[in-house]
Amino acid sequence: MNLFTQAIFSGLMTGAVYALLGVGLVLVYRTARVLNLAHGEAFAMSGIVIALLSSAGVPLWASIPAAVLVSMLLMTCLHAFILRPRSAWPAGTLILITLGAAFVARGVMILLVGTDPISFPAIFDGPPIRLAGGVLTQQGAVLVVLGFVATASVGVFLTRTQVGRQMLATAENPFAAELLGVNVERARLFAYAVGALFSALAGVLLIPLFAVDFQTGLAMTMRGFIAASIAGMSPTGVLISGFGLGLFEAMVGAYFGALAQDPVMFAILIAVALWQSGKVRFGGGARA
């Protein structure tokens, strides 16, 4: 068993998740101008819904779409009913609202499944791939491919399709976009839905390998945020930053132990924040 190769495989898997989460976070941030701290809850929710349904005997092919739909529904409702009517509120308060939503989601999860981590069977459970001294489960491989393809396709989608361009326009200048006939509200809703979809899919694939509990959502949001901010909130950059982050974290875990991962990630976050904030004045984004 080659430690290095195994770390690479592990890193690719988590990197795929960070990329998927990060790109959704960026989409929502750019189109709706809200940093959604409840973003990672879609990841955790989908896992918990599937686990509940599975233990009630519902087959995977039914519970997975149901879970994905539930996640997407929750996120779009958060936007439509809670955030959108208050879009003129100060940015800090909106972040607080999303934090409140994440909090409620955590509470619901404890109610549903308690505090212990849970999981459910993998979809792809064939023989694992053995390569260069490392082992990669089939499910893991699918996750990596999905992460790569989905994140890369977002960039293409945004620049080459009509709907994508409408989202870019909404992100850059909602006023101008609306004057051109773009339904900016629908563009935003779409951003939330896609973000939730990616998070849910990431959950569907990763959770069977690593389990989930009520804390996972916020932890994932944080990782997604780090990936997004390293990429400068650019949807296309998240592909690189997400996978890069995953690989780096896996290396740290492999050579310094799993407990070193959180502090290292935190240090990276601070470094990125300091770097990014050099571009913003007044420590709060206040502009003249």
């Binding site: 308060t93 109610l111 901010s229 407990l259 935190f266």
Partner: protein, 566 residues
């Protein structure tokens, strides 16, 4: 003692003996003790989050750290009192260091950064069981024991001390400063507040309260678990502050008491705990932003006479400040340029403004006037050229450092809605060198407002003032404390002819005092009346600089800007 004070005193007395009265089921001395310690630490979170508006999402870390430090020191043989003192000091030191890093970050990064810090603290506490007891927690022992009532007495005294010290620390100028920083950091800088330093100070002071409460709670319970410094606890703390009323003095107490009592009374429904916290948090943020304390305050206000009766202060006779003793050039701009990428917003502009002179800056939208203003204020550094104020080169001088000599008003007034009119005006005096007492500042602000004809508005909260008055109030704030240079950005926008007359009179008064005034305006009539000299900008360049009469007939200016309006 006003009726309000009597009622508060009575309520406090009842609150203290309440656990022994037995009228409130579930509110035992034990619960009350724990609540009191929690409330103590929440005073800190309230200061950072409620008053100063910083999104501190990981404050529990500073609640748990002193206990961990102290416990570890005790295990290493350090005697109790020394361990506790060093533990608290150590935690405050960590907070000070974190503040230096975090406070410069924009809101989102600060939020995620503090959240991450709590993650890390909890993770570290779990990771080293030999030092911290790991997941089962660190056992904390005291060299003496306290009875249940003894602990309660300690709790009441500690909380009372904390509240008293808080009320003493956070008042007057410091409180005003914090409120302005919360409301608008740019306006704060322009008045002279060093935003980074103020936030850092608030963060550090907060950690003292967080840590003190945390220490007392930890030793009371006897065990310190890793979760108590982690994300969940931080979020729960935030919920209690919000529910109680963020930014109010009694908010943390109310929030803690209500939430802890509800949990005590509802019994074993531990599964619902997080959900209840979350719902309370969300519902209050969405529908009742001032929390319970705010709600109670509003009810109370209806039954009690307003605290602030119209007090007649000593002087306040509207006498304008004495004439400034200066002449010559106040502001000198030489070759100033500012490029954003390929776009030259300001291109080689040179002019000066003398004491006792009004210079107006006119030009079409997009000509670069606001950018030039920002360069003079220090908000944007020029890519070329120099700005000197009072013959001192301003390169590298921060916005808040220039404010002693520059008073600035904005196109859209930036007044703090969470302060009264007079507090807004006084706030500029808070940051000026030289010590004025509160009374002196208040008297000066009142006199100044009267000179502007705004005397009766002085004690009203800003939120009750119509938008039409905002510009004049901002002008009053900008001009108090005798700054040498006034930068006024479109002061006449939206004014009726009568209001413009008033503004002209005020500017003439300020000019007569010897100030240098630079005005950006579109109202050509107004400018022609009031300005001694007009500078015309177009596409970043200065195309004319002359007396009003000459400018009005200048061909180039007419073509570029005036059209046939003159």
């Amino acid at each position: 003692m006003t009726p309000r004070h009597l009622i508060i005193a009575a309520a406090c007395a009842v609150a203290v003996v309440l656990p022994y009265l037995g009228i409130l089921p579930g509110w035992t001395p034990a619960i009350a003790t724990v609540s009191a310690f929690m409330a103590l630490s929440l005073i800190g979170l309230n200061l950072v989050f409620g008053v100063t508006g910083m999104l501190a999402f990981g404050q529990a870390a500073f609640v748990a750290l002193p206990g961990y430090f102290s416990g570890m020191l005790q295990n290493a043989g350090v005697p109790f009192f020394a361990a506790v003192a060093v533990g608290l000091a150590g935690s405050v030191l960590v907070a000070r260091i974190m503040a230096a890093i975090f406070v410069r970050l924009p809101g989102i990064y600060f939020a995620i950064g503090t959240l991450g810090f709590a993650f890390v603290v909890e993770g570290l506490a779990r990771a080293f069981p030999s030092l911290t007891g790991g997941a089962s927690g660190l056992i904390l022992e005291m060299p003496f024991a306290l009875t249940r009532n003894g602990w309660y007495a300690v709790a009441v005294v500690a909380l009372a001390l904390a509240l008293a010290s808080y009320a003493w620390l956070v008042r007057g100028a410091f409180l005003r400063t914090l409120k302005i920083v919360r409301h608008d950091e740019l306006a704060a800088s322009v008045i002279g507040i060093d935003v980074v330093r103020v936030k850092s100070r608030a963060f550090t002071i907060a950690s003292i309260y967080s840590g003190a409460g945390g220490l007392l709670l930890a030793y009371h319970v006897g065990v310190l678990a890793p979760e108590s410094g982690g994300v969940n606890t931080s979020l729960e703390a935030l919920a209690m502050v919000i529910i109680g009323g963020a930014g109010t003095i009694f908010g943390p107490l109310l929030g803690t008491a209500v939430v802890q009592w509800l949990f005590a009374v509802s019994g074993e429904a531990e599964r619902f705990e997080l959900l209840v916290y979350g719902l309370g948090f969300l519902l209050v943020v969405l529908y009742l932003p001032t929390g319970l304390a705010g709600g109670l305050g509003r009810i109370g206000a209806r039954f009690l006479a307003p605290v602030r009766a119209a007090q007649a202060p000593a002087s306040a006779d509207g006498a304008p400040p004495a004439r400034m003793d200066a002449s010559g050039i106040c502001l000198n701009v030489k070759g100033a340029s500012k490029a954003f990428g390929g776009l030259r917003a300001v291109d080689d502009i040179s002019f000066d403004v003398k004491f006792g002179q009004i210079v107006a800056l006119i030009g079409p939208n997009g000509a670069g006037k606001s950018t030039l203003f920002n360069i003079v204020s220090g908000i944007e550094p020029p890519t070329a050229g120099a700005v000197s104020l009072l013959e001192r080169d301003m390169a590298g001088v921060a916005v808040h450092e220039r404010s002693k000599d520059i008073g600035r008003s904005f196109q859209v007034p930036r007044l703090a809605s969470n302060l009264s009119v007079i507090e807004n005006v006084m706030s500029r005096l808070d940051s000026l060198p030289g010590k004025m007492t509160e009374r002196e500042k208040e008297a000066a602000a009142r006199a100044h407002l009267s000179a502007f004809g705004l005397g009766e508005l002085a004690d009203l909260p800003m939120s009750q003032i119509g938008i039409g008055q905002h510009k004049l109030i901002e002008l009053a704030r900008a001009s108090i404390g005798a700054p040498s240079l006034l930068l006024l950005d479109e002061p006449a926008v939206g004014f009726t002819p009568a209001e413009i007359e008033r503004l002209v009179a005020l500017l003439e008064m300020l000019r007569a005092q010897g100030r240098a005034i630079l005005v950006v305006e579109h109202n050509v009539d107004f400018v022609a009346r009031v300005a001694d000299e007009i500078v015309v900008m177009e596409s970043g360049r200065m195309i004319a600089r002359d007396k009003p009469a000459e400018i009005m007939t200048n061909e180039a200016v007419r073509r570029a800007y005036l059209g046939a309006l003159a």
